[in-house]
């Protein structure tokens, strides 16, 4: 999109600040999303990740934002998160020969002998379930924002014509 079709003037301060903040926000989102000892969790981390992309799309326009977050990657993340979550439970169920109740008995886990059953549960929750939640939330929010932005853009173009 050319600057002229933007509808507003470019602002160097906003663009430079966004370029600086974008990776830092992503990093902070990952920090919130991973692990079980810190603050937040999957939902919150996913929302922070989505907010980084939404900031970028707001400032640079959705066509440049599409380069950062293509539709294929968005669709992949959206379902991959749910598959990660679902898969964490199914791994437990399958490897324990259906004696597990979801995550209650990850006795199969190779690290169970070293970190114990509780440690394996916390590993599954922190690094599979939280990440799954975060990916789905991020992709869903970004996708919804793209859809709404496009619709508004189309209407504005139609009005100009």
């Amino acid at each position: 999109m050319t600057p002229g079709k933007r509808g507003y003037k470019r602002d160097v301060i906003i663009e430079v600040t966004t370029n600086l903040m974008f990776p830092l926000t992503l990093l902070f989102g990952l920090y919130v999303m991973f692990g079980t000892g810190g603050t937040g969790g999957g939902f919150q981390g996913g929302t922070i990740l989505a907010s980084a992309y939404i900031l970028y799309i707001t400032v640079f326009g959705h066509e440049k934002g599409r380069v950062k977050m293509p539709e294929s990657v968005n669709a992949l993340f959206k379902s991959l998160g749910l598959f990660l979550y679902n898969g964490a439970g199914w791994i437990c169920v399958l490897f324990s020969l259906a004696t597990a109740q979801w995550l209650n008995m990850p006795a199969f886990w190779p690290v169970t002998d070293y970190v114990g059953v509780a440690g394996s549960r916390s590993f599954l929750v922190g690094y599979m379930i939280s990440v799954g939640i975060g990916l789905t939330v991020m992709a869903a929010f970004v996708s919804q924002y793209f859809d709404l932005a496009w619709k508004e853009d189309d209407e504005m173009e139609g009005g100009e014509e």
Binding site: T36, G37, G38, G41, G42, E71, K78, S79, G81, L82, Y85, N86, G89, W90, V93, Q101, W102, L103, V115, G116, A118, G119, S120, R121, S122, F123, V125, G126, I129, S130, G132, I133, T136, V137, A139, A140, F141, S143, Q144, D147, L148, W150, K151, D154
Partner: protein, 204 residues
Amino acid sequence: MKPLTYAGLFTAILLTAVSLYAVEDIPAFGDENSAANKYIKLFAIDAEAGLAEKLNAGTLPEEIKNNIYDFGFIKGPTCEGCQDENYPALEEGNYKIEYIEKGTWLGGRFYTEGGWDVLIHEGEIFYNEPQQYYFIAEKDGNLSVYRYNWPVRVTERTEEETGIANAVTSGLADYRGYDTMGEETVILTGAIGVILLLRRRGRL
């Protein structure tokens, strides 16, 4: 059929299977090991003469009370006429004691061992109905004292059971993992609904 159709069919089958698995594993009504009914053993003391009689008469003996207080549970309001704790103190009128036979169904729980149920009395300020508070069972000449309540169970056992220091995360993603998975499915469904409603054809 297109590969996308296969993927959708596979997802539907997977979600149906996990739903069936979840429904099949829901504990029976009154299962004493289900989260809502689980109680925690606090301590055991010698069943000296008179303790069982006092319990049968409806009063909590001083020995048991002091042990509970030593355990760190509250003695009562810290100021006159105020209630600064959610759980009432073990004073006359706040509780009542009932002996439950082995094998009884009561309060949504199946009693696999007989014992005295210490209930919060219905006249207590925060509780309109009798609530299970402590449970005392006699076994091998010992009186074992248990305390009910799921929040207590969570705060005391969550790190030991799940390895997660954060009780909120353990509740959200471990104890209530099915619930969170449903919420995540709702988010995915919402996003797909927005795509179908708002996105124009050929603009992927």
